[in-house]
């Protein structure tokens, strides 16, 4: 699965899960999920559960960063990176 397919699935998931009750809400792929109130601290947990069940990506504690999960585009890049190298290392930083 390439990055754009991951992005499409993640976008659908976020819409169906966090935004179905806000039908007029326009969310761009580079909008910050926390700042725009799409995801809160509880939503982070749900999102991480989704990444595991949908893409088989286990998010390590140190990878739960704004850089990896901040926007839909960030998530797609991070997940594609994890899958691309067998999920052995994080797809992009994190403060550790």
């Amino acid at each position: 699965m390439d990055e754009s397919a991951i992005l499409t699935r993640t976008r659908t998931y976020v819409r169906d899960t966090f935004l179905y009750m806000r039908p007029g809400f326009a969310l761009g792929d580079r909008d910050r999920l926390l700042q725009r109130g799409v995801i809160d601290s509880m939503g982070v947990m749900e999102l991480i559960g989704f990444l595991k069940s949908e893409f088989g990506v286990v998010v390590a504690d140190e990878e739960i960063t704004e850089q990896n999960l901040g926007t839909l585009a960030d998530i797609a890049r991070y997940v594609a990176g994890k899958r691309g190298n067998g999920g052995r290392t994080g797809g992009g930083g994190g403060e550790g």
Binding site: G37, M42, V44, K52, V59, I64, G70
Partner: protein, 658 residues
């Protein structure tokens, strides 16, 4: 413990016995042991009684020597023996041993200044027939309820709003602003309620009805004159106060039991009760099938140490669904959590074992900073003082250990706390909770949104804060907000008074003795929250009272099944009907298509988070509430047995009350 109701006319056209009996009948669960009434030209009073003190002599309405002052009263004044001695020395003659009669004479002696002298949990109405006034008053923290409404120029008052509607003269209509407060704070903010024109008397307040007008006063204000250092006298003082508070709360002519959650607070109150009580203590607990919610291990540990007779009610998801319509009927409000349901079942268990008075631990978390919310506030401030620090935010990972560990760590999780609000906002501590709860509003209908377009419950709360608020420390501000937005209007009412009195069980709260509150408010913050250790001074004090395993365990929040209560995975029958977008009795509060999407996600197991579980509870409870109170399409309550022969039946012209 009891229920009261009454009417005060602006003209002397009488209050009928039938009206009073209808109002009393819907409160029967609060006082199954007896009833009484006074029907006069201007004022009518009704009372249903749960006999606890002076079982033989305490029937109400009760009057003074010449019948010129009458009282109906719900609650306990624990220092009544001391007040009785003081009043007797001043020349008052007592005919009973009841705390009720103390109120009458205290009113005669001191007027409304009497309120400062009462240590207890109470709501009452005193009719002064000479002055033609009615005094309504409520205890300092709002343990006992009192609602009122002015309709057609007359005053109606009662322990529960349903009695106002039973008069036939007060209309039950939704108050959209009150409902919006429920979906922000978990409860409407007194004096507002979820019913238009129905008000809750605020804790620590009184009101006097005279010449067709109601004038309000406050006799008690929360204050936090925080000390710089902990006095060496603090621990002995805490010991004396807790001992005295429990001893006063064991004053009863019937046996007193204890609710035992397995946490520190109920363990303390039960341990002190076991030590002080002349009766063998009986303790009562709920356990949960879901191990994430269950605390039985700690309950059994404490019960074993106290050698109490311990009774348990196991709660599964089906139990919550089965009683939830009754829970809403008694709570009289939409809810955002199912947590009142197990409390309803716990009270039923207690009553089945012939206990009608229980000690319970509420209030301690507010006084001694027990909740995670206080730690979260302290941490957010700590981090925001040094925004560049990378190590400080890691402390957030130690919060909420009971939540799913997935995602409960890392920068993203930490940032969600730091972006939750600026520290100069008076509501800083509570913004994360208020904003999370407000996500329920995503399900509002277009009509409700339009009605509430200019309403901002957060701004209204900011504007209602007392002038002293700004001078308090951030954690005391948080404690104050917790007391006024959650403790009184939700924990002590929807989850407290209304659930226990549904079964004629009176809860008593040793931590809500105002002397103990004032002691805690003077303590420096670090005596309460030391680092991330909550209730520090209480833990130190409890060393010889509570088993180490209970004393050292972190605070466990009390939660109950929510979505699994109503979907398994198909909705239980009444929920299917309530949430059906074709249902003709729908409240119109929520958008049918959005609710249908929520239902679909519950049925497929996709809805697992806080936002959706609180939305399910909110929508189900609001639809039940609407049908029960507004549309009157709910099935008959079935609990309206005819009132028994009254113990007291007074009418105008009766000079002496014997």
């Amino acid at each position: 413990m009891c229920g009261l109701a009454g009417v005060a006319r602006h003209e002397p056209r009488g209050v009928s016995v039938e009206t009073l009996d209808r109002m009393a009948a819907v409160l029967r669960h609060r006082g199954p042991d007896g009833c009484g009434r006074y029907a006069g030209a201007r004022v009518g009073l009704a009372h249903v009684r749960l006999s606890i003190i002076d079982v033989a002599g305490g029937a109400q309405p009760l009057g003074n020597e010449d019948g010129s002052v009458l009282v109906v009263y719900n609650g306990e004044v624990y220092n009544y023996l001391e007040l009785q001695a003081e009043l007797a020395a001043a020349g008052h003659r007592f005919r009973t041993r009841s705390d009720t009669e103390v109120l009458v004479h205290a009113y005669e002696e001191w007027g409304t200044a009497m309120l400062d002298r009462l240590n207890g949990q109470f709501a009452f109405a005193i009719y002064d027939r000479r002055k033609e006034t009615v005094l309504l008053a409520r205890d300092r923290f709002g343990v006992r309820p009192l609602f009122y409404s002015v309709a057609h120029g007359d005053l109606f008052f009662a322990s529960e709003a349903k009695a106002l509607f039973a008069s036939g003269e007060v209309e039950a209509a939704p108050d959209p602003v009150g409902l919006d407060q429920v979906f922000t704070f978990w409860a409407a903010r007194p004096p507002r309620t979820v019913f238009r024109g129905v008000h809750a008397l605020e804790p620590g307040c009184f009101a006097v009805w005279r010449d067709g007008a109601l004038r309000h006063g406050r006799y008690y204000e929360l204050d936090y004159p925080e000390g710089r250092d902990e006095s060496p006298e603090a621990l002995p003082a805490l010991d004396r106060l807790l001992g005295s508070s429990v001893a006063l709360r064991l004053r009863s002519d019937v046996p007193v039991g204890g609710y035992l959650s397995g946490g520190l607070d109920s363990s303390i109150s039960c341990a002190l009760a076991a030590r002080e009580s002349p009766f063998a203590l009986r303790t009562f607990s709920v356990t949960f099938d879901d191990p994430r919610l269950d605390e039985r291990e700690f309950q059994l540990l404490v019960a074993g140490q106290l050698n109490s007779r311990h009774f348990v009610r196991a709660i599964g998801p089906g139990d919550v669904a089965a009683v939830f319509p009754n829970v809403v009927w008694h709570a009289e409000s939409p809810l955002v959590r199912t947590a009142p349901a197990p409390m309803y079942l716990l009270a039923r268990l207690t009553r089945e074992h012939d206990i009608k008075v229980v000690l319970t631990g509420e209030g301690s978390d507010e006084l001694f900073l027990g909740y995670d919310l206080f730690k979260e506030t302290a941490l957010r401030l700590f981090c925001l003082r040094q925004p560049q620090s990378r190590s400080r935010p890691r402390l957030f990972d130690r919060l909420y250990p009971y939540l799913d560990p997935r995602g409960r760590r890392g920068d993203f999780w930490r940032r969600s706390f730091l972006e939750a609000g600026p520290p100069d906002d008076p509501l800083f501590s509570h913004l994360p909770r208020f904003l999370l709860t407000s996500r329920i509003k995503d399900f509002y209908s277009a009509d409700l949104r339009a009605t509430l377009a200019d309403v901002d419950p957060l701004q209204e709360l900011r504007a209602a804060l007392p002038p002293r608020f700004a001078a308090w420390s951030p954690l005391n501000r948080a404690a104050y907000l917790e007391m006024v937005t959650l403790l009184s209007p939700y924990l002590l009412s929807a989850q407290g008074d209304r659930m226990s009195l549904a079964h004629g069980v009176e809860g008593r709260y040793p931590f809500l003795d105002h002397r103990l509150f004032e002691f805690s408010a003077r303590l420096p913050t670090q005596s309460k929250l030391r680092g991330l250790r909550e209730k520090a001074i209480l833990r130190r004090w409890a060393r010889h009272v509570v088993p180490p395993a209970v004393r050292q365990r972190p605070k466990q929040p009390y939660r109950a099944p929510d979505i699994p209560a109503f979907f398994s995975p198909e909705p239980v029958d009444y929920v299917r009907e309530l949430l059906d977008e074709r249902s003709p009795a729908r409240s119109g509060l929520f958008e049918p298509q959005t609710v249908a999407a929520l239902v679909q996600r519950c049925r497929t197991g996709a809805a697992t988070g806080f936002r959706e579980s609180q939305a399910v509870v909110a929508v189900v409870s609001a639809e039940l509430w609407y049908r029960q109170f507004i549309a009157n399409t709910a099935p008959s309550r079935g609990s309206l047995a005819p009132l028994p022969q009254p113990d007291v039946a007074l009418e105008d012209g009766v000079a002496a009350l014997s």
